[in-house]
Symmetry: C2
Subunit: 136 residues, 2 copies
């Protein structure tokens, strides 16, 4: 932690963060965050996070990708644990093969109800543990 | 978990969730989520969550409250752990005294840079553990 960032005086709140990205992002500013492949190629951007209201944790990230097979923009939900944040470039890196993503659950114009069944479908496709979305 | 929610067939994704709230909320739909006091009185709404880009966790919730002392809408950041989600009413309940909130860090027209110094100020005010926002 740098001295500038760890400064806890009230006045420091007014100091611009210069060129350092901020580790916090407002939920209404997530749209557009860049996403790259592990090779560093631009893949698309984050459209939204699907957030567990109880825990506050981002459970899925919905990526917006364009140009696959000549079609328009499509939306690809991905388990959040498959994204890693790279502070050096202030973007996410996805460590799966692009073709795996292209074959995964997605939509173009009609977003699904992101309920237990759909969440299970996404988790199953990517081979991660299912998320319990029951309310009780 | 009810049978309806635990159904994992693909076709179930198209079934409307009826009157049950969904545990997941899209980050671009958080604005407007209701917030009540522990007595059940309406307090305001969530404007946004401040999300840790690395962990995906909501670290602070920014509440939008109006009418304090006759002024317009103001924004009050609160450590996320001070909110609890009530699925019965699909809203958050804040367990602190309203006057404590009114005296806390807030802004009206000029949002602060939500950096380490500001985050520490919020955490200190509410007496919760500081959050490390260093990028390294």
């Amino acid at each position: 932690m740098s001295d500038a960032i760890s400064d806890t005086s009230d006045t420091a709140a007014a100091v611009p963060a210069a060129d350092l990205p901020n580790l916090l992002i407002a939920s209404n500013k997530i749209d557009g965050t860049k996403v790259a492949t592990r090779d560093g190629d631009s893949l698309g951007s984050v459209y939204s996070f699907m957030i567990n209201k109880r825990t506050g944790g981002a459970t899925y990230a919905v990526l917006r990708l364009g140009g696959f097979l000549g079609m328009g923009k499509s939306y690809y939900p991905l388990p959040f644990e498959m994204l890693s944040y790279d502070p050096a470039t202030d973007r996410y890196v996805v460590t799966i093969d692009r073709r795996l993503l292209e074959g995964g659950p997605s939509w173009a114009n009609n977003p699904p109800e992101f309920n237990q069944a759909y969440a299970d479908r996404v988790s199953n496709y990517y081979g991660v543990a299912p998320v319990d979305l029951s309310l009780s």
